[in-house]
Symmetry: C2
Subunit: 333 residues, 2 copies
């Protein structure tokens, strides 16, 4: 930097100001400095900058590594983060949060306190609020993405799960279905809980019957869903429609129906949730509730950026979902 200063005949401070671009500098000087920097092939030392400003140039993405990476959901989230962070000088660091970190607030806190990250984007489908409150009380800048946190002090962004289920049920009611079943997600996940309770509520307010076998367990995976769907369909009073807690589950239900010779949607309608499966890739063209994951992630990242910039950011934001009608739902028999 000093060299650039000498080369362009100004003080190092001016060079700093030009290159960090966060202060007004005389345009002519700016040009001179930029030219000199280019001539000398000068690259600012991000380490020194971070050190001096006492803030890392990273946004830490904290997530349960194993489970999420490699899912389309994760991909969309990352692309959303990316779009929000683009143009910033910030980068992502994906932290290994498999084990410790998500059990003990200190794990994540350390990442922050060590200044390895200037802020945290947390994707923690099953993280306890108490944990988050601890984190919050430590003065850590973070936003939760893909989960709904009720504590108004903790900013979070996710889709409106309840509304999604509502829309799906409306769709099925319009098609004449009165016997609607549900395959749940893993009960420890917030999204699964919200979807199931929304289902129960809607069914009740629509005045539909809900025999016990109409609600089956699931874990957001195909194999488990196949088993659960089979149970429902083999019953002598099967539902005419099954809403599934996510698309993997719906895929499993469709495969189970196919294997049993039950036609979809003629004999049974099947609705999914997420909208991230590609019909082209997956041999299953699901009617589903689409949640704009990229949008959710981008907003979460944007809110984090605001937070890091000192702006006040509070509370939960719901993002709207929408119904995508494809080939697995049709009129009730």
């Amino acid at each position: 930097m000093h060299d650039v200063a000498k080369e362009s005949g100004v003080s190092p401070m001016t060079v700093s100001r030009v290159l960090s671009g966060r202060r007004t500098v005389d345009p002519q000087m700016r040009r001179r400095v930029l030219a000199a920097a280019r001539r000398l092939d000068y690259v600012p030392n991000a380490l020194a900058s971070s050190f001096s400003r006492n803030r890392a140039g990273f946004i830490g993405v904290a997530t349960a590594y194993r489970d999420l990476i490699g899912t389309t959901f994760f991909r969309e989230v990352m692309l959303g983060f990316q779009s929000a962070v683009r143009g910033t000088e910030l980068d992502f660091a994906l932290f290994d949060c498999t084990s410790e970190a998500f059990r003990n607030p200190k794990g994540l806190a350390r990442i922050y306190r060590q200044k390895k990250a200037g802020g945290l984007l947390i994707m923690a489908p099953q993280m306890e609020e108490k944990y988050l409150r601890t984190l919050s009380s430590m003065g850590i800048a973070f936003v939760v993405a893909g989960e709904r946190v009720t504590d108004p002090d903790i900013p979070s962004v996710c889709c409106n799960d309840a509304r999604g289920i509502e829309i799906m049920i409306e769709h099925l009611l319009k098609l004449g279905h009165r016997r609607i079943g549900f395959i749940c997600g893993p009960s420890q996940l917030g999204s699964a809980q919200r979807r199931e309770s929304a289902f129960r509520k809607c069914v009740e307010s629509a005045g539909l019957a809900l025999p016990k076998h109409f609600v089956q367990p699931g874990d957001y995976t195909v194999p488990k869903a196949k088993a659960s769907a089979a149970v429902m369909l083999k019953n002598r009073k099967p539902p005419t429609a099954i809403i599934c807690a996510n698309d993997q589950t719906a895929k499993g239900a469709v495969l189970a129906a196919r294997e049993m010779g039950v036609r979809v949607p003629e004999d049974v309608s099947i609705g999914g949730f997420d909208g991230l499966l590609s019909p082209e890739e997956d041999d299953v063209s699901l009617t589903t509730i689409y949640q704009p994951v990229q949008e959710i992630a981008a907003l979460a990242a944007k809110r984090l950026l605001d937070l890091m910039a000192g702006k006040p950011v509070r509370g939960h934001v719901d993002i709207d979902v929408s119904l995508v009608i494809r080939e697995t739902t049709g009129p009730a028999r």
Copy 2:
């Protein structure tokens, strides 16, 4: 740190040595320092440390973002990296390399020169060697994962694609197949090139006929593979077996066959490559060549760690693949 030093009655330097753990310290002092650090709830400042050592505590993962993220392959790679880096003080930073960075060596070089990363793990299926050589000549510490680089100065790790194809062909020959077709991958990818040329070589040395329609284009996706498989199977002289450049392609081929009423494996055997699709999730139980992606990634990361530690690391390393026999291959008709 000074506080910890005072608290434990030693010099800051000793504290530094204890906490960074890279120098021998009297065990008694070590205990004293550790105790004091805990009492004061001291967390070392990673920023200052990086600055002082002039080296970032990050390994940069540089990859064509959009295409890879969210694939099982990517997941396995990250898990592999993780296992190698575990126990180190290092973290990953996943860099946005969609656009610029992979066209111009300066893009990646900047990441390194800015000290945002102490080393780079590059997943670049279609990166030109010239580019890599430039990077190398800039003195950047990097290892290429999942691609084979011929330049001996550039360390890389990937699976032995040619051997995989060879094994698959041996398997099919044993089953009595003499009419074997191939669906290619995207021609710009090294892996696709290697797999195709290995196929051609093996077919030739086995003395098999290879009519033109036995080799069809593909792009590692299901839809394209479906089309290509259909072309082959509709021909009046179809192959009795089709080797596919990857599992997605094989999945497409299986789906195409199913749709045409061609039985797999009774009428046609189909072999994949990668071994990352789960038969449980995917409704297709492929015979395939398994490449241990985690192992590949872990070795790449380990080599990078060595490189960063100043050890000499050179050349390409091939990792063995293996045949996984499932349900899509059988005796030739």
